[in-house]
């Protein structure tokens, strides 16, 4: 399973196992939208166990973040390794997302 959904208080946490790429981005989108439809508004995507993300993976995060914000919620990202952080910096998406060093930091104040 590439995406594990769990709860931490009122926050929905999604662990990305392996890759977030063109071949599985729809699965992440579907899982987040299902939670959003249930009324969940606070999300953390944890990349502790993620190898790499491609442009489609970045795109689905942008799209989901927008949808969540439109509902009055927030999506935060956590635990990006150095390579993944480089991707966000290259694409300047580090300016669009709140990126925390750890899951705990992401959950703080959410």
């Amino acid at each position: 399973m590439a995406f594990q959904v769990s709860k931490s208080g009122e926050v929905t946490v999604i662990d990305v196992e392996g890759q977030l790429i063109v071949g599985n981005r729809q699965e992440l989108k579907q899982k987040v939208l299902e939670e959003l439809e249930k009324g969940e508004l606070r999300f953390v995507v944890d990349f502790s166990n993620t190898g790499y993300i491609d442009s489609s993976g970045l795109g689905v995060l942008v799209s989901l973040s927008k949808k969540i914000r439109e509902q009055g919620g927030e999506l935060r990202l956590a635990s990006l390794n150095e390579d993944l952080r480089t991707l966000f910096e290259l694409t300047k998406l580090d300016t669009l997302f709140k990126i925390a060093d750890s899951r705990e930091e992401a959950l703080t104040g959410l």
């Binding site: 790429i21 063109v22 390579d83 300047k92």
Partner: protein, 142 residues
């Protein structure tokens, strides 16, 4: 050389297969693992989604050459081609919140050379492995 069905689910397996054959370049593992892996994935995605327009009857050809000093991948689709010069910069403020448009940008940022053929249906990616270059092309140019 690999010939892939026009199915995005085949991308991950194809990239893994190529990466296994690059394992001998272990001194540059990090650069290969990020730059080449993502560059090749983007080229395959573009070929299948935009070049071949998701047509399951079409195929994508991948030719990889591994030399001491560089790794080259040529990805060719069966589409009509497109003008890569017209792709907007996804890092401009007005484009940041758009979900798409980062594939070619990532290829250009992470690879040392990216060349399209005149028809626009074949792209050649080059990653140089010589000493003294930054591990991450992005890190060098950012």
């Amino acid at each position: 050389m690999l010939e892939l069905p026009n199915d995005i689910r085949s991308i991950e397996h194809a990239v893994e297969y190529v990466m296994e054959h690059c394992a001998g370049c272990c001194a540059y593992a990090r650069k290969l693992n990020l730059n080449f892996r993502i560059g090749l994935s983007e080229a395959l995605s573009n070929a299948m989604l935009y070049g071949n327009e998701r047509d399951p009857g079409k195929r994508v050809r991948v030719e990889v050459t591994i030399r001491d000093e560089e790794v080259t991948a040529r990805v060719t689709d069966q589409g009509a081609g497109f003008d890569h010069e017209t792709v907007p910069d996804p890092t401009l403020p007005g484009n940041l919140s758009k979900p798409g448009g980062r594939g070619i940008f990532l290829m250009r940022s992470l690879m040392d050379d990216v060349q399209f053929n005149e028809e626009g249906n074949s792209v050649t990616l080059v990653l140089r492995l010589e000493e003294g270059r930054s591990d991450l092309a992005g890190g060098a140019s950012a």
